[in-house]
């Protein structure tokens, strides 16, 4: 059974069709790319999967369970984490707290525990803390634990966002243009990092990216969409030579 399967997914905004009849399925442990021209509907797909939008038509099934009608935090609790195209950290909270809060769904204690600081509360807080520190360690961010993200350079903010998503220990990680705004050197670092995360945490990754270097070197399979529907799917090599993809997206020459 695929981890995520999408069938006939459509989304309209008023008269505008952002997505029409998309099919897709992700197997457990895969790393897949999603590319397409600007405004093709890629982010919309992620928004639908993470529950921020409700689909106009079609189904999203996560590990055998349809997600329609679920609120985003419930979908997150099912194991879907994501990053955002425009970074959305909690800028005035410390990096550490950012990562703590993302573990909300598994706090496992109630309001009264908070007031009484019960053993359950303390145990849970300790675990949350431990996971946060572990992740910061793994991503080389420990020295920034008490910084506020707004004071960090853009590249680090991207990493913090990935760390935050990973602290949820998701089964499916959606990365929306993780390399945007990263310098060439940092892109290489990112590629390594994503690969490491994928291997270490056995997480399924689906990423949108315009930097071909990233998709081509990471993904085993790539989906290309344009104007809200699929135009190609296959291995990086196949996609790179697909004339439709070249025409709509890649362009045939460089500067």
């Amino acid at each position: 059974m695929p981890l995520l399967s999408i069938t006939g997914l459509s989304k309209n905004f008023g008269g505008l069709t952002a997505l029409s009849g998309l099919d897709m399925s992700l197997e457990d442990g895969e790393m897949v790319g999603l590319i397409g021209p600007n405004g093709a509907g890629k982010t919309t797909v992620f928004n639908l999967v993470s529950g921020f939008y409700q689909p106009s038509a079609g189904r999203i099934v996560l590990d055998g369970r349809p997600t329609s009608g679920l609120r985003p935090h419930q979908i997150a609790a099912l194991g879907v984490a994501r990053t955002f195209q425009n970074i959305r950290l909690w800028y005035e909270m410390s990096v550490l707290d950012n990562i703590r809060v993302a573990q909300h769904y598994r706090m496992g204690y109630g309001l009264l525990d908070v007031f009484r600081r019960t053993a359950r509360y303390r145990r849970s807080e300790r675990r949350i803390d431990a996971i946060a520190h572990e992740l910061l360690e793994a991503m080389d961010l420990s020295q920034y634990a008490h910084e506020r993200p707004k004071n960090l350079p853009y590249g680090l903010q991207r990493l913090v966002e990935i760390a935050r998503a990973m602290s949820m220990r998701p089964r499916l990680l959606l990365l929306d243009e993780p390399a945007a705004g990263l310098s060439s050197a940092d892109v290489d670092h990112l590629i390594d990092l994503v690969r490491r995360i994928h291997d270490e945490f056995h997480v399924t990754i689906w990423m949108i990216e315009h930097q071909m270097k990233v998709v081509m070197s990471l993904c085993s399979r790539i989906k290309v969409i344009d104007l809200g529907s699929s135009i190609a799917e296959g291995s990086p090599e196949r996609i790179q030579c697909d004339p439709a993809v070249i025409k709509a997206y890649l362009g045939d020459e460089t500067l």
Partner: protein, 302 residues
């Protein structure tokens, strides 16, 4: 039937005041997302300026009531515009420059309002002022309805003010810049737009409107007191929000909606329950329409 239409007339006139004040309110509010709690008090200052000017023109200068009216309207608008701009320069702008959270500016506005109210009380004493009758009131009675010339004038003024402001905001470049600042005041100078000038212009327009409302109000309800603007300021805030923050059409419509709600409830239910029912309706309305009539939520797209 008569009862119904009479109340429609009542609501129209009362709504005109809400609309008139909410228009000025929403301008500043829309541009700076500053809930200008001092707006009601600028309105009060307007009424007082009009009062002093009118008594002076009528008394010492000896002008006729018509000329007096023609003079005090621009004079008052000018005076309140000055008050508005002064508040902006002295109190709000430095805070904005320092990057204060908008609510600190809001609290400052609240404090400015208090200073205006109580400063007036301390300066002029607690005696209320009676606004002189500039236009003899004529009551037109027809089909069991009665309406005064003043009511009609107020409604007309509100409509005219709306038309002018709506034109400025939607059709002119300065209006475009005003809407731009509302979204992102940092990016606006990058477009070559001088933000301070736009903001001052907004305050002139908004506070001028408060002055206009002050004159009209003083004529219709000729009892002036230092706290007269406090409640109506809050109501204008409500009206502006019901309509949708920062939308001129919203402020206009919101003013009338609020008045129709208040007057409608008082007309149908026991008036002792008016606030209870009217605000419950309002609550449900805002719950069902989380961004008012015309408002658009920010952040629909991530």
């Amino acid at each position: 039937m008569e009862y119904f239409f009479q109340n429609v007339l009542n609501a129209l006139q009362w709504g005109s005041f809400y609309a008139l004040i909410a228009l000025g309110y929403t301008l500043v509010y829309g541009v700076l997302s500053l809930i200008n709690f001092a707006h009601g008090d600028i309105f009060m200052v307007g009424a007082y300026v009009a009062y002093f000017a009118a008594t002076m023109f009528l008394g010492e200068v000896g002008l006729g009531p018509g000329v007096t009216l023609a003079l005090i309207v621009p004079l008052t608008m000018l005076a309140t515009a000055c008050v508005g701009v002064a508040l902006e320069r002295i109190a709000y702008r430095p805070l904005r420059r320092k990057g204060a959270h908008r609510l600190y500016v809001v609290i400052t506005a609240l404090m400015c309002g208090l200073i205006l109210e109580n400063g007036n009380l301390a300066l002029l004493g607690a005696s209320r002022k009676s606004f002189p009758e500039l236009v003899p009131t004529t009551v037109y009675a027809f089909a069991g309805l009665s309406v005064t010339n003043l009511k009609l004038a107020v409604i007309a003024t509100a409509v005219a003010a709306f038309a002018v402001l709506h034109f400025i905001v939607t059709k002119t470049k300065i209006g475009l810049a005003m809407r731009g600042i509302a979204w992102d005041s940092f990016a606006i100078p990058l477009m070559g737009v001088p933000p301070d000038r736009i903001i001052v212009f907004t305050f002139i327009l908004g506070s001028g409107m408060a002055g206009l409302a002050g004159v009209m109000f003083a004529m219709a309800y000729p009892v002036l007191e230092p706290y007269m603007g406090a409640l109506i300021g809050w109501k204008a805030f409500i009206a502006a929000v019901i309509g949708g923050i920062g939308d001129i059409r919203g402020a206009f419509l919101g003013g009338f909606l609020l008045a129709f709600l208040e007057i409608g409830v008082a007309a149908v239910f026991p008036s002792t329950m008016r606030d209870l029912i009217a605000f419950s309706v309002l609550l449900v309305f805002m719950w069902q329409r989380p961004t008012g009539v015309f408002g658009v939520a920010r952040n629909q797209k991530i």
